[in-house]
Structure formats: structure tokens, C-alpha cells
Symmetry: C3
Subunit: 350 residues, 3 copies
Amino acid sequence: MNKPRQVYRLSEIVQRFGGEVLGDSDVSISQVATLEAAGPGQISFYANSRYRKQLEQTRAEAVILDANASASTRRTRLVCRDPYAYFARVSALLNPPAAVVAGIHPLAVVHPTARVANSACVGPFVAIGAGTEVGDRTLVGANCTLGDNVRIGSDCRLHSGVSIYHDCIVGDRVILHSGVIIGADGFGLAWDGGRWHKIPQIGRVLLGDDVEVGANTTIDRGALDDTVIEEGVKLDNQIQIGHNCRIGAHTAIAGCAGVAGSTRIGRYCRIGGSAMIGGHLEIADNVEVSGATGVSKSILKAGTYTSLFPMSLHRDWLRNASHIRHLDALAGRLRDLEARLAELEGKKNE
Amino acid sequence: MNKPRQVYRLSEIVQRFGGEVLGDSDVSISQVATLEAAGPGQISFYANSRYRKQLEQTRAEAVILDANASASTRRTRLVCRDPYAYFARVSALLNPPAAVVAGIHPLAVVHPTARVANSACVGPFVAIGAGTEVGDRTLVGANCTLGDNVRIGSDCRLHSGVSIYHDCIVGDRVILHSGVIIGADGFGLAWDGGRWHKIPQIGRVLLGDDVEVGANTTIDRGALDDTVIEEGVKLDNQIQIGHNCRIGAHTAIAGCAGVAGSTRIGRYCRIGGSAMIGGHLEIADNVEVSGATGVSKSILKAGTYTSLFPMSLHRDWLRNASHIRHLDALAGRLRDLEARLAELEGKKNE
Amino acid sequence: MNKPRQVYRLSEIVQRFGGEVLGDSDVSISQVATLEAAGPGQISFYANSRYRKQLEQTRAEAVILDANASASTRRTRLVCRDPYAYFARVSALLNPPAAVVAGIHPLAVVHPTARVANSACVGPFVAIGAGTEVGDRTLVGANCTLGDNVRIGSDCRLHSGVSIYHDCIVGDRVILHSGVIIGADGFGLAWDGGRWHKIPQIGRVLLGDDVEVGANTTIDRGALDDTVIEEGVKLDNQIQIGHNCRIGAHTAIAGCAGVAGSTRIGRYCRIGGSAMIGGHLEIADNVEVSGATGVSKSILKAGTYTSLFPMSLHRDWLRNASHIRHLDALAGRLRDLEARLAELEGKKNE
């Protein structure tokens, strides 16, 4: 928050990312902020009409907005097609990740056969196993553990306390947040002789380029084949991905969701928070699953799918929900009424 | 369990916390226990009539109960208004947290610009970043990682394996259990040019005084503004709090619940286990959300809210649940029947 | 993946585990694989008719199947009663866990009063508390923290980053995956004087023999008595077990499930992923709970139980779900219709 940082004139920003300035393009921008909180030197954005009031009252140095909204404020404006995406670029420009300071901390334990790039940074209390590779400019935070024969690409960031089991492969520019576990054993059991027997999980986890994985999310290694997370997939916190799943490129999954084993999710899907997706299913490309939705069948067609019981006051819930257990009987009574009424109407018309 | 510990006479306990002893107030109390398990020197409590039988059979040295129940046993009784709250105080008296042994373990890595109080305890394999402060008598357990410019108050307990990202602020008397992640990036993405772009998360997490956070719970840093957990909030295990949420003072949330980004929960709320609360919502003060309830709309009035599909045997569920997809048609058929029957009744009365 | 490993002739496998070879029993088997991926030296299995096509096309060296299926391929067959369980044994034979290399890493911190077996392996950055015991051939991975007076049996595997709080007891042959937290405080609070007061959690966690616990799963210590996980219980990832629960022997629970405090689950149960089981409940032996099911009442009889709201396209959900809040009124209107129709029919027959 308090780091000195690079400052850009609005004109420089427009030169990089396009768009048009209405007002003084010489103003200096040092940080992004919300419409409500922004002050001198800060740029904000307006992308949703529910923030109209905040737009009118903002003291931001400049506001990113689209042509339709450009008359709504007299502050300096940066007019573009997609204000939110534009804002994302400006914020990334103003807030680059901290530079990686190359070197292996003296209190890290790196196996002699591991290959850590000279430009990589390995923090204290990191254990790196035999044959493991860490790519250029990759940061491995404190207290991470990398098993044997792991391969991590370049420009990755492993925050503190990440564990990666043996043989897993991580692409380039991957971000793993604290507490992420990659490659723990899948839940593979066979019932035999009155007890469960563990099935060795000999597959791996493959994470594609530009994947981001949120805090405490777990991705299990495959039982026989690999678990695959394709490029550009974004996983939020506390998600569980079962063994042998495949998550298609550029799919985003929100927090607390679970995907049971051997399920294949397509590309460009959006899965809501706390959604539960059963095992051995197929989810097509471009499917959206609402939050808290349970998916127990394959979804073969793009669209938005939901399975939430509507919330109400508990006393109303008690009264209404009690009928759920009798819906079949209720439907039967309705059919019976229809038949009897039709008969009565028939007689009437005789 | 086996530590020698302080012993109190019943009379001393009453002197501290009030209440009245029926029986021998000279008996010594060394520990609390359930009615079923308690023996000599142990005090139990009775606060729920379903344990009447255990009360009758208990061999506890003394029992905490209210006036209505005081005739139900002949054991020594400690009569008070709220037996459970009284028991909590007695247990806290008998089971104080282990004293913090001041000092920084030689195998901790503390940045030279960090300020760790002389009375604080920093365990082995702890990494503490630049500019970070650790307050008086605060315990930082083994394998914790504190980023740069973190501020931790006094009398806090960070159990092993906690990660706190840069710039986050923790109040006094805060307890963070193992695996807690404070301040990981929120799930902020912009879709642009056929792929997700990460939006830098430049807000912080602010934890108020007397907050307790359960094992493996994650609280994301704000996107622009801060994520705020107000004083006295109690979070159970494996909870996910999204970026820019605000949780009001003294709210308690049970395990596995998730709160999506930018939602504001009021004060004195109680959120049940596995509840899922959507993003950008407002929850009023004193709201209770039942376990496993999905909240997809704001709740503006105190009360208890539920959205659980009633459980039944799977074969009954199959039969009844199949009608859910036809409820609208069913309601239409009902309206149709009503109209036809009214017409028939009209004719009848002609 | 690339380790040299032991190779077995098919005849040796049959000698160990029974069954009958159809074809060349001299072939050498070095690894298991799916029907689709298997090649020379690899054995696969066929246990589900949906993989019939893969069976016909497999290039596996040999296939494990039952008598009914033995005519479906000309590859070398190993015929047995239960192909999946047989496959599990073969895979365990071919993929034994890596041998434990005895010794304590110089960068581990072991309290002088702790007793670590000479045959145990303690990795780097492990902290072991006072009075704690680690049994024969047990592996404690990097960055684990064991509190005071913990007892771990023999032949256990604690993967990296496991935390076990003081006084907890772990049986023999227990596997704890990365990020597991055993014995954090249960969620015990008393409301008193306008704020929550913490109730000391003085019970322990007891894990029986042959228990496996998945990544980032948390099991809370008991409030007064112990939390007990009986022998052979298998817990998947990201499960939360509340204080004072008892999970009966050989029960399996899938990922993301939660069990609230003081609930007793019987033996041989199977709990689906993301299921939520409320507190203070009794679940009988041999109960199966479907994925994403919320259990708010005790289940006293074996059987399969479900509470999922059926998923549909969001627009259909909107239309149908809106009636849920009026089910009681709808049922009332149906009763009314029945009465009126009966009256009409009565008149008709007059």
C-alpha cells in the first residue's frame, strides 16, 4: 500500500490501451480506487448504473466509462468500449507484482538433483525434492513443499504454504495461493473383505499456463491417468477437484465449489460458489452453473443451470417444505380431480 | 490433559462469578466435565432437560444449574441464572491458555525492519516480512508466514501454519487456528479478448479485536477497499469470506459456510454450517441463517431464514422431486380446475 | 512415474491373489493402466459394461475381469470374482509406497522429551512438541507441526504441512494428507453480557488404525470428551468434522462434506460429497447419504437418503421454484377443490 510507485499521465494510458480523454489528459494517475473512495491522483471506473449516485459525487481525478455515460460527470473522463476491462488493464499497469529477488534462501532445503533457475526466488523453509525443476523468475514462498520430480514453469508465484506432490507439472505464469495442495491422492477405494482398500493413485496433476488457484484449494492427482486443468482456468478459494477431472480452458469456478472424480468440464464455463458437481459427468462448453447448485447429471448444452431451494422465513419454510414429501400424492390427487371433473362436465353436457 | 493445574474451592468460584452453593462449598474443583464423565474434583453443568437422566446419575463433585433444576439432584449444586454461561466462565478459569514463553526461535526468519515485541513468542520456521509488527504477548506458532507490513495486536494466538499476506491488520486477542489464510487475492477477473485478466487486489483485510478464526478458513483481501471483520466475530473452520465483505461485530458463522464478495453481514447474526451467501448482498443485524441454506437475495429484516430441500429416502425423493420441474404446469392445471369447477357450480345454482 | 519398479509374471500374481489366467500366464506385468491407455507390460480391469468398447479395443497386456465378461476380449485375461477389488490388490503390489528413510532432518526441531522411533523419518521444518511420540517407520513430511503430548502410531504417513494440536492420538497405518488439521478448537461459545465467550476445548481427537484423511480436512478436538474417528474410516479432502463427533468404523465420507458437533455417524456409512450433517444427530450403521444432501434430523434406519433440489435451466427454475413458497396455499386450494367437487358429485347422484 505504501510502496512508492510509478505514476502515469492519462495521455500515456490512452496511448497504451486506447480510448479517448474528455478533459485534461495531462493529469497524473498513481492508483485506482472506487468512485466513493477515489481522490487526487486516483482513477476510478463506472460500469453499472447502480453506482450512478457515486459517479455524480466522485472526487476521482478521472473516471473510466463508456460513451453512453460520458455526460454523467464533469470529472475528467476516459471514454472506452468496456470500462471494467479497461480498468483491469490500468490497475495491472499501476500495480505490477513485486519484483522477484533471485536466490535461494539459506534455510531452504533443495535436493542436489533439483534444478532451480538462477532467476528464481526460493523462500525460507521451502523443501524441494529430487529431480524437481523451478523455472525462470518463479517465486516459491516460505514454507512451501515441492515433492520429487515436480516441474514448475517460469514466472509462477507460489505463495506461502503451498504443497505439490511428486511428479505434478505446473505451466508458466501460474499463481498458487497459500494453502493450495496439488496432487494429493484421489479418493480411490475398493471394498474387499469387510474393509476399504486404498487404490494407489499413480496419475499426476497437470496445470496449464496462466492458471490461478485460490487459497486452500485442493486438486487431486489422477488414479491412473492425469487430472488436467487447462490453460487460463481460474479457481477461487477452497475448491476441491477430484481425481481425473479435466477442466477446460478459461473456465472459472467460484469459492467452495466441489467437482467429484472423473468429471469433464468444458471450456469457458462459469461455476458458481458452493456448487457441487457429481462424478463421472460431462459439462459442455459455455455452461453456467448457479451458486449452491447441485449437478447430478451431465449438462450437454450451453446455458445457465440452477437447483436452489428458494429461501424464506423459517416458519414459512416449515409450512411449505412439508408438502415436498407429498408432491407425488398431490399430483395424483390433481389427476384424479381432473378425471372426475371431466366426467361431471361430460354428464352436464349430455 | 495431564498438566498439573490450579484447584479452586467452590466458595472461591462463587466469590468470583456469583451464584449460590447448595451443599458443601469447601469442595475442591480442578476440572470441568460432562455429567456422564465427571468424577471427584470435577464440576459439570445442566442446561437442557434432555440430559435429566445424566443429571440424576452423575457423580460430579458439583453441578452448575438454575433454580428450577436445583431439586433434581442431591449432589453439591451451584445455582445460577445461566448455567451454560457460568460453566463457560468456570472452564476458562480452570483452563487458562498456556503461558506464552517470550522469545524468537533461532530457526525463525524475521526481517530486520520487523518489530516483534519482547514479550511475544515466535516459533520455529516462521517467516516475518519487512515492516511487520507483532504485539505484546502474541504467540506465532511454528510454520506461520507473515508478509510485509502486517500488523498483529497484542495477546493474539496464531496456531501453526497460518499465512497472512502483506499489509493486513489484526486486532488484539485474536485467535487464528492452523491453516488460516488472511489476505489472499480476491477472485477479481475481467473478461477481455477471449481470456480472463487478473485485477490486482490492492485492498487489505482488517480483523477487529477478539475475533476467532477456525482452521483452514480463508478471508480474501479487498479488491480496492478493505475486507473488514469487526470485533468479536467468531468464524468456524473452512469458511470462505470473499473480497470486500464486511462482517458485523459479534456475528458467528459455522463451519463450511461461504460468503461471496462485497456482501455486508450485520451485527449479532448467526449463520449456519455450509450456508452459502451470494455476493453484493445486505444481511441485516440479528439475522439467523439455517445450515445448508443458500441466500441469493438481501435479507433486510431480522429473523430466521431457511432454504433446505427436505431429506427423504432416495426412492421417495425420486418420486416427489420429479414433480418440481412441473410445478408451474401443476399450478396452471389447478387454476384451470378452479375455473371449470366454478363454472359448473354456477350452472348448478342456475 | 519413472522409478524402476518390480515386475511380476501373471502367474505370480495369480499365485498371490487367486483367479485364473486365460492366455499366456508368463507375461510380465509392470504397471496398471486404464483399458484405453494400457500398453505392453500393463494390466487393466473391466468392471462396468459402459467400458465395453474400451475393452474391445484395449492393447493391455492382460485384463482383469469376471467370468461373464471373459469372452469379450482375446487379450490375456485374469478371471476373478471381483475385478475392481482384484485390480486394487494388483495395483498396491505394483505401487508400494516409497520406502521410509529413517532419520530426523537436521532442520527439524524436536523437543528433547519427545520420543521419535529410530526407524521413523522426520522431514525438514518439522516442529515436534514436548512429550510427543512418533512410532516405527512413520513418516512426518516437511513443514508438519506436532503439538505437545501427541501420540502417532507406527507406519503412518503425514504428508507435508499437517498440523496436529496437543494431546491428540493417531493409530497405526494412518495417512494424513497435506494441510490436514487435527485437534483445532471446536466451535464452542457461550453468549454472555452481549458478546461471545470462548469455552475451552479440553477434549482430544482420537484417530483409529487405518484411517485416511484427505487434503485440507479438519477434525476438531472435543469440548469436554473426545472426538473419535474409528478404525478404517476414510475421509476425502476438505471435510470438516465438528467437536465431539464419533464416526463409526469403515465409514467413508466424500469431499467437502461437513459434520456439525456432537453427531454420531454409524459404521459402514457412505456420505456423499458436499453433504451437510447437522449437529447432535444420530446416523445409523450402513446409511448412505447422497451428495449435496442436507441432513437436519437423525437417521435411524439403514438406506439411502437424499435432499437435492432438481437442477434445470435457470429460466425453468425461476418459473417452477416460485411456486415453492406457495405450496401450502396450493395444497389448501386442492383440498378445497376436492371438497367442492365431492359436494357437486353428491348432488349429481341425488
